[in-house]
Symmetry: C2
Subunit: 154 residues, 2 copies
């Protein structure tokens, strides 16, 4: 697929209060993407997109990221079946972040088998000056054994 070119960045006023999508990709060509459940607003995951993955997301209606470790397009769910159907695409004031609202097919967005990647929370007693207190508590239930998550296409 050829590289996709989004409209160029113009003025601060147009970027922040205008109606043209002018996403800012960083020096590596990436933009952060927050993905939420379209019904509950729960944050499901965070990843990066490049222009090609954002265009692919818009064309297909399925969340597509850029895998920095594998250096390739990452069509979410292509292996696990847990596709994210895009219900809305938002951007922030300075258009350097994308926010997707999705329907998560299968209900599992994390490779560890949780609905959301954010399944741990700092304990209420966390004190940064006492490292032993900086413990995480699990705040979600594992829905799927991750060992079975990537075998659907096997």
């Amino acid at each position: 697929m050829s590289a996709f070119v989004f409209p160029a960045r113009t003025t601060t006023a147009e970027i922040e209060l205008g109606t043209t999508l002018q996403p800012k990709f960083d020096a590596e060509g990436l933009i952060p993407c927050i993905t939420t459940d379209h019904l509950t607003n729960e944050v499901l995951m965070f990843a990066f997109m490049n222009a090609e993955s954002l265009a692919h997301t818009l064309r297909t209606g399925k969340a597509t990221y850029w895998s920095r470790s594998r250096r390739k397009l990452w069509c979410k769910g292509e292996e696990s079946g847990n596709v994210q159907l895009v219900k809305a695409v938002l951007t922030d004031c300075d258009q350097d972040v994308i926010l997707l609202k999705v329907e998560s097919i299968g209900g599992v967005s994390c490779h560890n088998g949780y609905k959301s990647c954010f399944y741990r929370q700092l304990s209420g007693q966390a004190d940064p000056d006492n490292q032993a207190s900086m413990t995480l508590q699990f705040v979600a239930r594992r829905l799927v054994d991750p060992k079975t998550l990537y075998k659907k296409k096997a």
Copy 2:
């Protein structure tokens, strides 16, 4: 304030399924932070933290970011009064993102006077191969005139 050192990264198993906070700061010493409304889960804003701002957030209970443009700690609300009181701190599976759940004092997290920085959404007819269709629609109401937002301390 001296630099703060979080626990070192250990094994993938411990990072992803353990109970020790081991945040990953990138080559520039930064970690992405998503901030949500603690009651509705609505994403309010996105910013970066360095170790010092994360430690400051934990110590004070007020969301504190790192301003990349001003290259300084950014205690949210220090000028506008719209402080974010931290109700919960979560991290994701590989601990390279922070998620804050906050009570937004004043209810305005965006410098443009909106509750959330994500006040625009791509139109339903957005077609990446037709740039004229890539228009944003406002999906939120402006709560405050931004001209008045930073004059509270004047």
